[in-house]
């Protein structure tokens, strides 16, 4: 079982927008892989294709060419049951995207009943455990509009975890949070990493990248420019573009 969890092979994606004269090459022949239990942090300037790459892994975005496999299953193949695959790939969004008409508890319970076909009783037990784990057991019956950003993101993480995913994808999970709540959510993510979860994390939190990542990928203009272990990457970036980028944000 040494094969990687995620394999990304020569993936290309171009956006054509009527409002823009030039097509945008969001992914330019990207090849990489993520091992089981590995935590990969993806960084890069705005518009470099980080979100597009992440969203291609669970096919929220369609790619033009290349292949992506998750645990050996080809994401874009016609015969792949994409809903079953997505259930095994958790995704956490910048803006949480909790179901607005459901309580925190119901946000976690509903997908379990509908997708994983669990009984309500079992789903609620799992949801209670997860609310405990993400640190807000007292918020079970609150609607999203009554929760702070940090609390909403904790519920969103719990909702993903309830599906018992093999992989978790985080797309700027803390970018929309108040500074004082960022730390708690990052800590939760570090905990997941320590439990052995395979994670692909797009973030601007360099502290998190340095501490929690096994590997850092730097992207620019749709391509992976550089990758390394965090210490070497941050202390000794090789490419000019990575050096520029780090100088600007640090």
């Amino acid at each position: 079982m040494n094969n990687p969890m995620i394999v990304i092979d020569k993936v290309c994606k171009t956006y054509h927008l009527k409002s823009r004269p030039e097509p945008v090459r969001a992914l330019d022949n990207v090849t990489n892989h993520i091992d089981r239990g590995e935590v990969v942090v993806i960084i890069g300037p705005s518009g470099s294709g980080k979100s597009t790459l992440l969203r291609s892994i669970n096919r929220l975005n369609e790619i033009d060419s290349g292949t992506i496999t998750v645990d050996g299953v080809n994401v874009t193949a016609k015969k792949t049951n994409i809903n079953a695959l997505r259930a095994e790939v958790g995704m956490v969004f910048q803006h949480f995207n909790l179901f607005q008409h459901k309580t925190a508890m119901e946000n976690i319970v509903m997908p379990q009943i509908i997708v994983a076909k669990r009984s309500r009783k079992e789903a609620e037990e799992i949801a209670n455990d997860l609310l405990e784990k993400v640190g807000i057991p007292d918020r079970a019956n609150n609607y999203p509009s009554m929760l702070s950003g940090g609390q909403q993101q904790r519920v969103a993480i719990a909702r993903s975890l309830a599906m018992k995913p093999k992989v978790m994808l985080f797309d700027e999970a803390t970018s929309a949070l108040d500074p004082e709540t960022v730390g708690g959510v990052l800590e939760l993510m570090r905990g997941l990493a320590a439990d052995g979860m395979t994670m692909a994390v797009v973030t601007h939190e360099m502290g998190f990248a340095r501490e929690a990542a096994h590997r850092v990928i730097f992207m620019d203009e749709g391509a992976i420019i550089e990758e390394n272990n965090p210490d070497d990457f941050f202390d000794n970036p090789q490419s000019d573009r990575a050096q520029d980028f780090l100088r600007q944000i640090l």
Partner: protein, 229 residues
């Protein structure tokens, strides 16, 4: 004093007819609203599925219904269709009234439902899809429940439009409220003004609660930026 007694006696003698007329108005509008809403919900959802051909067909249907006066639609369904000689298209006046009003209602409801669905943020369906829900499950459990809330206020104002449109049905001889009033005026031509006021009052009795509900619902469920008016 004498005048008031006079008016009271008019009210007294017309009351049973107006109540009967209001009852017919109520029945026809309620049945049409029910069927019209069912058709409208189906087409409204259809419009959002991202199927270009389906969307074009629905838009054509809407253009035809929204682009012609209801009275003309009623004439076509009641007078013109039977002349085609197709048995099941020869409606009696009640059926013609309900069919035409249902279609008319559906044209409004379709737009309301479609814009409510489009108003649900994209992130909601992305979140649903990313936990593994199918498109159908996402509509059923996430998008439609949230969109329904948004439809409540505009829907109530459409219902008022439909209720008032039933007045047109007097031209095909349906004994609804306006028709009952016109019959009364033939009997008492001297009181035409008073009788029309009385009819207006009866419509008001029916529409006002619906309008109040619409206003209340707007505060409760929020407003939809639709292109109704």
């Amino acid at each position: 004093m004498e005048m008031i007694a006079d008016k009271l006696s008019i009210v007294q003698s017309l009351w049973p007819f107006l109540i009967k007329g209001l009852w017919v108005t109520f029945q026809i509008s309620m049945i049409s609203i029910l069927f019209g809403s069912l058709i409208g919900f189906t087409l409204g959802i259809g419009k959002t599925l991202g199927n270009v051909v389906l969307e074009k067909c629905i838009n054509a249907y809407l253009h035809i219904l929204r682009g012609s006066p209801y009275l003309v639609q009623l004439y076509i369904i009641y007078f013109v269709l039977p002349s085609l000689g197709i048995a099941w298209l020869s409606f009696d006046s009640y059926t013609a009234a309900i069919v035409s009003l249902s279609l008319y209602t559906s044209s409004y409801v379709t737009e309301i439902v479609a814009s409510a669905i489009f108003a649900v943020p994209n992130g909601q369906s992305e979140a649903a899809r990313s936990v593994g829900m199918s498109k159908t499950q996402t509509y059923r459990n996430v998008i439609i429940p949230q969109a329904l809330k948004l439809t409540i206020p505009p829907m109530a104002s459409v219902y008022v439009i439909v209720i008032k449109s039933t007045a047109v049905l007097s031209v095909i001889g349906i004994a609804e409220l306006t028709r009952q009033g016109e019959v009364a005026i033939m009997r008492m031509p001297g009181d035409i003004m008073f009788i029309y006021l009385l009819i207006a009052f009866f419509y008001f009795l029916y529409c006002y609660p619906v309008l109040r509900f619409s206003k209340w619902a707007e505060g409760r469920f929020g407003q939809l930026g639709n292109d109704l008016h």
